[in-house]
Symmetry: C2
Subunit: 459 residues, 2 copies
Amino acid sequence: MSSTPPRVTAVDTYDIRFPTSRELDGSDAMNPDPDYSAAYVVLRTDDPDGHQGHGFTFTIGRGNDVQVAAIRALSHHVVGRPLDALCADPGSLNRDLIGDSQLRWLGPEKGVMHMAIGAVVNAAWDLAAKRAAKPLWRLLAEADPEWLVSQVDFRYIADALTPEEALDLLKAGRQGATDRTARLVERGYPGYTTSPGWLGYSDEKLTRLARQAVADGFTQIKLKVGADLDDDIRRCRTARAVVGPDIRMAIDANQRWNVGDAVQWTNALAEFEPYWVEEPTSPDDILGHALIRRGVAPVKVATGEHVQNRVVFKQLLQAGAIDILQIDAARVGGVNENLAILLLAAKFGVPVCPHAGGVGLCELVQHLSMFDFVALSGTTEDRVIEYVDHLHEHFVDPVVVRQGHYAAPTAPGFSATMHASSIAEFTYPDGEFWVKDLATTAPESTQAPESTEQNGAAA
Amino acid sequence: MSSTPPRVTAVDTYDIRFPTSRELDGSDAMNPDPDYSAAYVVLRTDDPDGHQGHGFTFTIGRGNDVQVAAIRALSHHVVGRPLDALCADPGSLNRDLIGDSQLRWLGPEKGVMHMAIGAVVNAAWDLAAKRAAKPLWRLLAEADPEWLVSQVDFRYIADALTPEEALDLLKAGRQGATDRTARLVERGYPGYTTSPGWLGYSDEKLTRLARQAVADGFTQIKLKVGADLDDDIRRCRTARAVVGPDIRMAIDANQRWNVGDAVQWTNALAEFEPYWVEEPTSPDDILGHALIRRGVAPVKVATGEHVQNRVVFKQLLQAGAIDILQIDAARVGGVNENLAILLLAAKFGVPVCPHAGGVGLCELVQHLSMFDFVALSGTTEDRVIEYVDHLHEHFVDPVVVRQGHYAAPTAPGFSATMHASSIAEFTYPDGEFWVKDLATTAPESTQAPESTEQNGAAA
């Protein structure tokens, strides 16, 4: 036990990869063979209570090592920080990471470097919530509105949302929060499931999983589309027949189309009454989404899992380009930027339906939606969190989904902590699983064999 | 000499950093202390004539190792490719790199991974031009229009530019190309200089360098602004007094402002008649640029050095958000994507004034503007290539600027090849310069000391 105030002592990184491509889990029109992976980071501390901050970037295999390198490039901003100051103001870390002028050149605020910032910032919030002995959703929901506003970077969004407007929204959101907390704890937050709809699944598996989804209490499912129109028509017909007219059915093209194709293809599936069409084109194409939205109504347009930052979300809202805003907990710069995005969505009155699945994305993003319900938007109407039943067993506090609802987490933190045994087994290429696997198979599905990247090293 | 067709035998990468921050060269409102750097790649071959392909991503110091890791992650797509097929169709490599479904998750088509693709694709074009014994501008300008169209990825831009429209533009651009080639070879391509205007320079240095710029034959200079309005007013007044009313003076805020600030600040400098205001806000803010353009006219709005891809350029043009489009040779996915962007600019009738400077950016981008002049837009009116007199001595075929004009390169290739001695000296942290430097100074200006990145290793 040190007599100096506790600090971050090290930033450890891990290249963790799960061989999901073997089962075609997660297969869609753009991602035929993902190996769900995490560039995982642990903020080690000398906190007398032993708390550490966990975070990660989700990737789908190759390039996870690049993401790990990016996280390491940030570590000098973190090591040595006093925990009290860091946890009292995670926004200070966020500002320093975003503001590193040399690293900023590699974005700015997008792609590999920005996701690395998100991993580190989220790890700081995990640490803050653990030290506060609260699940993150509750820490945020009970926080002072002025303090929440101080956690938001208004640069580049002030033309759409001022700090004063943000404060008003958060103060209004506080009304009735106690009742909503009680409702959330009692009933959970509604989810929807993508498990039936992966492109690589047979019609038989689609039918079986769609039926199971309804039996499990979900009121919405999602199907991947965009590779072949005849296949999509058959699969949508099959799914609609199984779930009946009252279950919402979303379709997801994973950026497969040009603007014109998106309109035509979606309208060709309109008879099956898709609730929303997701990622119809490039996530960068704000004006394209606006055109598509006008061309496919009443089918709603949703996007966000690949939207790089608050600046693009701002414009999607300003341009009236989306009906549904899909935050992702690990794509943007972490909790601070997602606060900005939730506030923008609230300002524009657009419902937030988070992207999840992958590795640990459900675990993270549930906290953000639950905060939004309790203390910002105040409603779950037309709001659902994506749910995919993959890889939860690797987390110490996995999501609990009952009757189609996410149960409110009770454990302190951001639910980001992975089991040490999982890290040990699936670290690439030196974990037990990969050592065995690489000895028997060609490694090309996840990584060029000549990589010299070290895994699990402290930085 | 092998009896099999020649191939790419290895992808070598180098982390090269120049200590430019010591002189405040390159200092602006967002980048106070850049160490100009290159994540450098060499496609090694067994070409009987010994040709190799050189390319790089420009960075400003920290994170250059992340960029090197990203280039390495692409190497399995390149090693083993037959050179004849690669050089006959660099677009095939471009498609494979962009289309890697696992790596795509880290973008898509933006930031670190996309710049890595640009470095590798540009190296392939360097190789193709060397094997064709032509400077790249001439290879492109003399290429068959149908073939050029085949090199463009129309995904996500077809709503603004179809392959048929691109072909028409290129066929029209071919008319008079022989005459324009002769004019280009005789007179060169106009440039402008940013050398006087770095924020870190004293008024005396600004005055001296602005006077020198006019004496050197430049008809446009550029000043960095955005840190302090009073300073900017004084510096603009000083520069305008030195250069007189007939020299164009651009100002560059390097993304410093919100939308409202950009309008106010630019208008506060209007009395000094800036020709354009560059990067007034986030490069992601298409709608913001459109607002700014309406608010600052007749001052023109320019952006592009941080614009991530053709999808964002497309929208900047569709939204009428810019007067000047600033391509960068090493920010987007390489020559193929810059062909798309030049075609978009030609379609919308917006002049292209490339970003350059840094390390080697002048060397690369001159080829693109010269192709555009000879065989696409057909004009240099209101078009200038940025010029900064830094670090050219490290290149085997450095740019030659006379009387404010870039001389047309004559050496085969993309002018990307760095001297082996420069690579050896400035490779970080094991090159001679850095070994000596790191022994005497704290390393924090360029890199966290705990980095384990290896440099110069073959991947």
